[in-house]
């Protein structure tokens, strides 16, 4: 993959670095250092020159209404302070940017929000939710956007497999090998615990529920798409 470092992004980083490291002498080597740093992170970097800007004439409100109904009722409280992204351990190492996603959502950029793979880098640690001065509950907003993404067919394959496990075994992490049963015996427990691993009727109930809510279809459709 080739590296795309634009002049403007270097200038921007240079200014930012200069401001943050005022005690550092600005030699010629410093600019090289920034370039090396940028190169190491080039996959994450974007700038206005790298991609076409999206024209936003009149924001489309329908996505916001959808999010509010799906579990993120406070999204419109956001005044873009960025406390969420500043607190985010996922944002510190990936291009997952809570503030950006929320702003995009508020502007009605639905497709950009639900199709972005980084939407799935939130570990739901709720640090942003605990620090948000506007009670936006960013974690819930992200989960609501994920719900909409899944409903529209955006689901990662490993997630689909995990969901299938719950429908098949009653557990996301099933007792699927004899070695796990041996481990239980080793610590002095019965080989099979009294959960869905023992009671197949519990799994039947989960299947019935998934059929009723349409969750089974949600996973199936994805399966066909993948094939």
């Amino acid at each position: 993959m080739s590296c795309l470092i634009t002049k403007s992004s270097i200038e921007f980083a240079y200014i930012t670095y200069s401001r943050n490291r005022i005690l550092r002498p600005f030699g010629n080597g410093f600019k090289d250092e920034i370039q090396a740093h940028l190169r190491s992170r080039c996959i994450i970097l974007t700038s206005a020159e790298d991609k076409t800007a999206i024209d936003i004439d009149t924001p489309d409100d329908s996505f916001v209404q959808m999010i509010k109904k799906t579990g993120g009722p406070n999204i419109q409280n956001c005044y873009q302070c960025g406390t969420c992204s500043g607190s985010c351990p996922a944002g510190a190492r990936t291009n997952y940017l809570v503030r950006g996603i929320i702003r995009k959502a508020l502007l009605g950029l639905k497709e950009q929000c639900i199709s972005a793979p980084e939407l799935w880098y939130c570990t739901t640690c709720y640090t942003c939710t605990d620090r948000c001065p506007q009670d936006v509950k960013p974690t819930d907003v992200i989960k609501a956007i994920r719900n909409i993404a899944v409903a529209e067919g955006y689901m990662l394959e490993p997630h689909q497999k995990t969901a299938l496990k719950v429908l098949e075994a009653g557990h996301a992490v099933p007792l699927d090998k004899e070695s796990w049963e041996n481990l239980r015996e080793k610590v002095g427990l019965e080989r099979v615990p009294p959960n869905a691993s023992r009671y197949s009727e519990a799994i039947e109930e989960i299947k019935k529920i998934a059929k009723k809510t349409g969750f089974d279809k949600l996973i199936e459709e994805k399966k066909q798409k993948e094939e």
């Binding site: 799906t70 579990g71 351990p89 996922a90 190492r93 799935w120 880098y121 939130c122 570990t123 739901t124 640690c125 709720y126 640090t127 939710t129 605990d130 974690t139 989960k143 994920r146 719900n147 899944v150 409903a151 689901m155 990662l156 490993p158 997630h159 995990t162 969901a163 719950v166 009653g170 557990h171 996301a172 992490v173 099933p174 007792l175 796990w180 481990l183 239980r184 080793k186 610590v187 002095g188 427990l189 615990p193 009294p194 959960n195 869905a196 691993s197 023992r198 009671y199 009727e201 519990a202 799994i203 109930e205 989960i206 019935k208 529920i209 998934a210 059929k211 809510t213 969750f215 949600l218």
Partner: protein, 307 residues
């Protein structure tokens, strides 16, 4: 206090990957006169970051199905997993306060002849230990104090966050979990990134295990920068898996070697209460099974007969 009994919600990771936690909690609760009842036919909680991210109503319905098992018996639920706690506690809370969600969930539950009534509470092991047993009673039971053992903590996220909803501890300066762990007599070692996520939650471990492990490495590096510790204690088996087996995965993906014993808080207490590690199988943690190693008994201050 009269004996109190809880329905024991096992979840997935404890009974299927870290059964030592299941055994240890039985020893600890029994020592403290608290009952644990089997919750027959309970399923996945279901995983809050995973199912909650896929379809909120399905998530709430499966969680509510688990809650109805306890409602039928009339005892509260206790769970030793932050993820299970997040699903069961949050769903219980949301269903008690959101009529629209409750109606949707009960319509779904009707196909399996169940109904969410909202009559029970959900407790994390930590809360049951601190609020029902009490720290002073726990201290009385400690006959093998971890004197001089340096203990780092990983409280994890979902037993205390979101703080405005859980209303339990200050998630920026939590103290409840620390106080419980300190009853063991071990010395608390603070480190900068104690409160960041282990990296496993929110379906991230499933989506991209390397990114998840970067969180874990950040925690270990932060701890080492603070001088290191002899063990790390967590109240969650998913965090435990990420921190314990994660060390093996970090070695595989990043060629960095960390060796730190990771204990669930009930394993710490079982040892402090005088139980031998073999009574609950501490050495079955996946880190040891896969590396063919054993806990650093000497560092933990535990005398073991060489077998």
């Amino acid at each position: 206090m009269a004996n109190k009994s809880f329905y024991h919600f096992l979840g997935c990771i404890i009974p299927h990957r870290y059964p030592s936690v299941e055994k240890a909690v039985k020893l600890v609760f029994n020592d403290l006169g608290m009952g644990l009842l089997d919750m027959d036919g309970a399923t996945c909680c279901p995983a809050p970051g995973v199912f909650g991210s896929f379809d909120r109503v399905t998530w709430a319905t499966i969680a509510a199905r688990n809650l109805t098992i306890a409602e039928a018996g009339g005892h509260p639920i206790t769970t030793g997993c932050n993820g299970c706690f997040a699903s069961l506690w949050d769903a219980n809370h949301e269903l008690k306060h959101d009529d629209e969600l409750r109606d949707a969930v009960n319509e779904n539950l009707a196909v399996v002849d169940r109904e969410f009534k909202g009559t029970i509470e959900v407790w994390h092991y930590v809360d049951a230990l601190v609020e029902i047993a009490g720290l002073s009673k726990i201290r009385e039971k400690v006959i093998r104090p971890f004197t001089g053992v340096r203990m780092a903590l990983h409280p994890g996220c979902h037993w205390m966050r979101p703080k405005n909803i859980k209303q339990k501890d200050d998630s920026e300066r939590p103290h409840i979990f620390r106080e419980l762990c300190e009853t063991s007599g071990a010395t608390y070692v603070p480190y900068k990134d104690e409160l960041i996520c282990c990296g496993a939650g929110g379906a991230v471990r499933t989506a991209d295990v390397k990114i998840a492990l970067e969180f874990t490495m950040q925690k270990f590096d932060s701890l080492n920068a603070a001088g290191g510790a002899d063990m790390m204690i967590t109240p969650c088996p998913f965090c435990e898996l990420q921190l314990d087996m994660g060390q093996v995965e970090i070695q595989k993906y990043f060629e960095k070697e960390y060796t730190l014993d990771i204990l669930h808080v009930v394993e710490l207490l079982a040892l402090a209460f005088g139980h031998e590690p073999d009574e609950f199988g501490l050495a079955t943690h996946l880190q040891y099974m896969q590396r063919k190693t054993a806990p650093a008994w000497e560092k933990l201050g535990i005398k073991m007969e060489e077998s």
